[in-house]
């Protein structure tokens, strides 16, 4: 199964979850997601999603200087973002249980 297809559907929630722990900038958020096991996550998908979440009012942002070059844009989760994260987590749990149920019933049943 191509994990990148699965990741795409839950990327909004995953990014919000990463930012709920600590503010971060684009590249750093990608690294945190990969370190958490989402190795197939694409940089462009993450940056695009960050922009969309920010536009939707789920994140706030601020600039901070960087040693490597241009100033970095840090993202921080806000109340609307936390609410969305909570909904995403519930939605994911429901979905996971449903899929688990389907897989397990398939395994034990001769079709």
């Amino acid at each position: 199964m191509d994990a990148s297809q699965l990741v795409r559907g839950v990327l909004d929630g995953a990014i919000l979850a990463v930012l709920a722990t600590e503010d971060g900038y684009g590249y750093q958020i990608v690294r945190r997601l990969r370190a958490a096991g989402l190795e197939d996550v694409g940089d462009a998908s993450v940056y695009g999603t960050l922009r969309r979440l920010y536009q939707a009012g789920r994140l706030s942002s601020y600039l901070a200087p960087s040693d490597e070059g241009p100033a970095r844009r840090y993202y921080a989760i806000n109340d609307a973002g936390r609410e969305m994260l909570s909904d995403s987590a519930k939605g994911w749990a429901t979905f996971r249980d449903a899929i688990d149920g389907v897989f397990h019933s398939k395994r034990g049943t001769a079709v």
Partner: protein, 177 residues
């Protein structure tokens, strides 16, 4: 501060991503590019070419805009940003041809008399007008690809004005002598 100078590769990568986002407004494009610029700077600092990590700039830009909620670029229909960004390349040629057409007299002795452009008999004035026309068309074409349909008129008008002004100056110089 240990700032790594961007390599040509990183500048080229960013330029190609920006070109693929050319149909967005400057504010939208800049908004998308801020995070990319930071990443490219960080990759350069670690010595990794951006393309190795981020892939082909056009594909990167396509994924970026889709994830951000923008419609995909219409590159495959021939009206997308990649094609639009190449439009300015025609402007030097059109500037040259318009300048030449305005200045060439079509009268004179032999082939050279007909083909060598002149303003009031001065080839150097005509050459100057053509050079200015070419440079102007290039600059205008690069700066404003969105209004490209109106630009031939602007360029032709500028060159005509320039040629008329040059003719008057030439007359004045002759009178003084």
């Amino acid at each position: 501060m240990t700032t790594a100078a961007p390599t040509t590769t990183s500048a080229a990568f960013l330029a190609r991503v920006a070109a693929a986002l050319e149909d967005l407004t400057p504010a939208e494009r800049e908004d998308l590019l801020v995070d990319v610029r930071g990443t490219v700077a960080e990759l350069v600092a670690t010595g990794e070419p951006p393309e190795d990590r981020l892939g082909r700039p056009e594909l990167f830009a396509a994924e970026l805009r889709t994830a951000a909620g923008f419609p995909p670029a219409a590159a495959e229909t021939g009206t997308g940003p990649e094609r639009q960004s190449r439009w300015w390349r025609w402007w030097p040629l059109s500037g040259f041809l318009i300048g030449y057409a305005v200045c060439v007299p079509g009268v004179g002795d032999g082939v050279a008399g007909v083909l060598v452009p002149r303003i009031n008999g001065h080839a150097w004035l005509a050459v100057l007008a053509i050079v200015v026309s070419t440079a102007l068309a290039t600059a205008v074409g690069m700066a404003a690809t969105r209004w490209r349909y109106l630009l031939p008129v602007a360029v032709a008008g500028s060159v005509t004005l320039l040629a008329v002004a040059a003719a008057h100056i030439s007359d004045a110089v002759r009178l003084v002598r």
